[in-house]
């Protein structure tokens, strides 16, 4: 995907987007996922209501016909081993997954960008300390670290978001630091110094805006990672505890009954894949859109 500066200026974001069908589809899928997450409550079936009479029903377009059925709405994607409607569970799971990943990315971004800016601009001992912490965190597998922390502070929606956030900031810090080191060599930074700007003003007004593109791109890519990590944690039983559904949690349950009920694994799996793929494609699109080589160039 090659997006020239002129095109971007003239056509704006959507003008460029319609010329890139793959990215457009990815945007639509993500939009649908967000709509699903927001309106999950309005789905006629209840995600939590158990009905052992209807356990492991295959996908169908017909409503349960036996007397005393919990739902009069058809189990479009079937039911799980406890007879809960899979469609309703997946919709709710999308909401939880998006929420957890979104907030963990926000936390990671705030921590990472701040430390990256400070590290790159101040340099010296401060830079050394921050970067050694980054190196240490990077040398540990992300999931192993998250497992250790969740095991210590216990599972739960907020805890998972915090754990993911506080382990995911390192890439932000490293990227932003690198950008700061590059940007501070431009003479408009020296100019800002010479007109008497304070360090904080230079960081916020002159350096940060140049790094926004790369931050946004990394945020998108990290969000995809966060959804996978959350699913991994839930799959391992360390994520958001039952009965709240998450995509990883549903998949974990599904493996026990996979040979009897394939649908419990296939549908959430496909949706997880579609969302992550879309987010990654959007990330790539944003990277081209905000091609950072522009800063200070002729």
């Amino acid at each position: 995907m090659e997006i020239t500066k002129t095109k971007r200026r003239e056509k704006g974001y959507f003008g460029v987007l319609v010329k890139h069908p793959l990215a457009l589809i990815a945007h639509i899928i993500l939009l649908l996922a967000v709509i699903a997450a927001v309106f999950a409550n309005f789905f006629p079936a209840d995600a939590l209501e158990q009905d052992l009479m209807s356990s492991l029903l295959p996908p169908t377009l017909h409503a349960d016909s036996f007397p005393g059925a919990a739902s009069s709405f058809p189990h479009i994607l079937g039911t799980d081993s406890l007879g809960r409607d899979l469609t309703a569970r997946i919709l709710l799971a999308i909401r939880i997954s998006l929420l957890v990943s979104f907030f963990s990315v926000v936390i990671a971004m705030i921590v990472g960008v701040t430390l990256g800016l400070v590290s790159g601009y101040i340099g010296g001992a401060v830079d050394n300390v921050i970067m050694r912490i980054v190196d240490a965190l990077m040398s540990l597998p992300f999931v192993v670290l998250a497992i250790a922390v969740v095991a210590a502070i216990g599972p739960g929606l907020i805890n998972v978001a915090l754990v993911l956030g506080f382990t995911g900031w390192v890439t932000f810090a490293k990227l932003v630091r690198g950008e700061v080191l590059r940007i501070r060599e431009y003479s408009f930074i020296e100019a800002a110094n010479s007109i008497g700007c304070s360090s904080i003003r230079i960081l916020i007004k002159h350096i940060l805006p140049q790094t926004m593109g790369i931050i946004l791109v990394n945020a998108t890519l990290t969000m995809g990672q966060m959804i996978v990590s959350e699913a991994t944690l839930s799959f391992l039983g360390l994520g958001v505890p039952a009965p709240t559904p998450t995509l990883g949690g549903i998949l974990a349950d599904a493996q026990q009954t996979f040979f009897a009920a394939w649908w419990i694994m296939v549908f959430p799996g496909l949706i997880l894949m579609a969302i992550i793929l879309s987010i990654n494609i959007i990330g790539d699109f944003l990277r081209d859109y905000f091609d950072t080589s522009e800063a200070g160039s002729r």
Binding site: S187, S194, G196, S198, K205, A295
Partner: protein, 326 residues
């Protein structure tokens, strides 16, 4: 005209070179190695030399954009060298800089008007609305019309960008400006515009310039006094007219004779220097220039000459020039 506005005494700026030698301690680079300057209000003082001679570092050290190693800098009765952060910021209202590369010295994500108004806002000299009005006025003085101030820097050509850089430097009404190669990135037909603008503004805003350049023809046109630097030291200092009618230091002579001739049949006796500029990390003993000097003697290898006045306002750092002028 004779009131001294800037006085620099024995200014030294050393850098630590990154590459360490085998035996651990790396030599420091003596970018500026003991410089004395005295600039009067209203003057345009030229600092000339080849790349790596320390002329830009001198300019930046005077503004303390680079921390000097030692020496004293006195600006209009105030000590710049020991000024704390707060008083340094106040000083910067009055001491400004114009940069070489108009492409990288403007924040690409700020509108021109915001760029020029920023110094006023940083120093709390005006409310945002007032700042915009003042900035527009200065931009107009510098030749950027009112209609284009809401644009981004990338929409302007090199010469126009340099006008914006100049407007930003002038908006706080400074008294002293360091202009670091302000036209060397510009086309010939645009250079003249900017040089004329700088001269007009000097009268209008009663400015004092420290004009740093490698181009002798430009320095001759815009300055009234000149100092030639070689390897971190001033080798000759004189009134511009005196200098161009008869430079005394062998390096100054070689530099002047190296300027390409202006017309094809101009008879030019050229002094071609052999060799390259030595490294500032390891300057030669004695006179810095003796390794390339066509006239050097034994004395030059051992004793570094001092900058000594030979006539009123004309000083040279050369053992031989002293002898010949006496």
């Amino acid at each position: 005209m004779c009131e001294e506005i800037l006085s620099v005494k024995d200014l030294k700026t050393y850098f630590n070179s990154r590459t360490s030698t085998f035996l651990g301690k790396s030599p420091s680079i003596r970018a500026v190695d003991g410089i004395n300057l005295s600039i009067n209000a209203g003057e345009s003082f030229g600092l000339v030399g080849e790349s790596g001679c320390g002329k830009s570092t001198t300019g930046r050290s005077i503004l303390r954009l680079i921390q000097p190693t030692s020496g004293s800098i006195n600006f209009a009765g105030r000590d710049v060298m020991t000024a704390d952060k707060k008083s340094l910021r106040t000083l910067r209202r009055e001491m400004q800089m114009i940069f070489q590369d108009p492409y990288s010295s403007l924040n690409p994500r700020m509108r021109v008007l915001d760029i020029v108004a920023e110094p006023l806002i940083v120093h709390r000299l005006a409310k945002p609305s007032e700042a915009a009005t003042k900035a527009k006025k200065v931009l107009d003085h510098c030749g950027i019309p009112d209609g284009s101030v809401q644009r981004f820097p990338r929409e302007f050509s090199g010469g126009q960008r340099q006008r914006i850089v100049i407007a930003r430097a002038l908006v706080t009404r400074p008294r002293f400006i360091v202009a670091d190669e302000p036209v060397s990135a510009l086309d010939v037909s645009i250079q003249a515009q900017i040089l004329n603008l700088l001269q007009d503004l000097r009268d209008e805003y009663s400015l004092t310039y420290l004009f740093i350049s490698h181009d002798l023809a430009i320095v001759r046109t815009v300055t009234n006094r000149i100092a030639v630097m070689y390897l971190g030291k001033i080798v000759e200092q004189a009134d511009t007219s005196v200098f161009f009618s008869g430079p005394l230091h062998p390096y100054s002579r070689a530099l002047l004779s190296s300027v390409p001739r202006e017309t094809p049949d101009e008879d030019k006796k050229r002094i071609i220097l052999t060799g390259n500029i030595p490294s500032a990390a390891n300057p030669p003993k004695g006179c810095n220039f003796h390794t390339r000097c066509p006239l050097f003697t034994e004395k030059c290898k051992k004793i570094a000459p001092e900058l000594i006045p030979v006539s009123k306002g004309h000083s040279v750092a050369c053992h031989l020039a002293l002898k010949s002028s006496k």
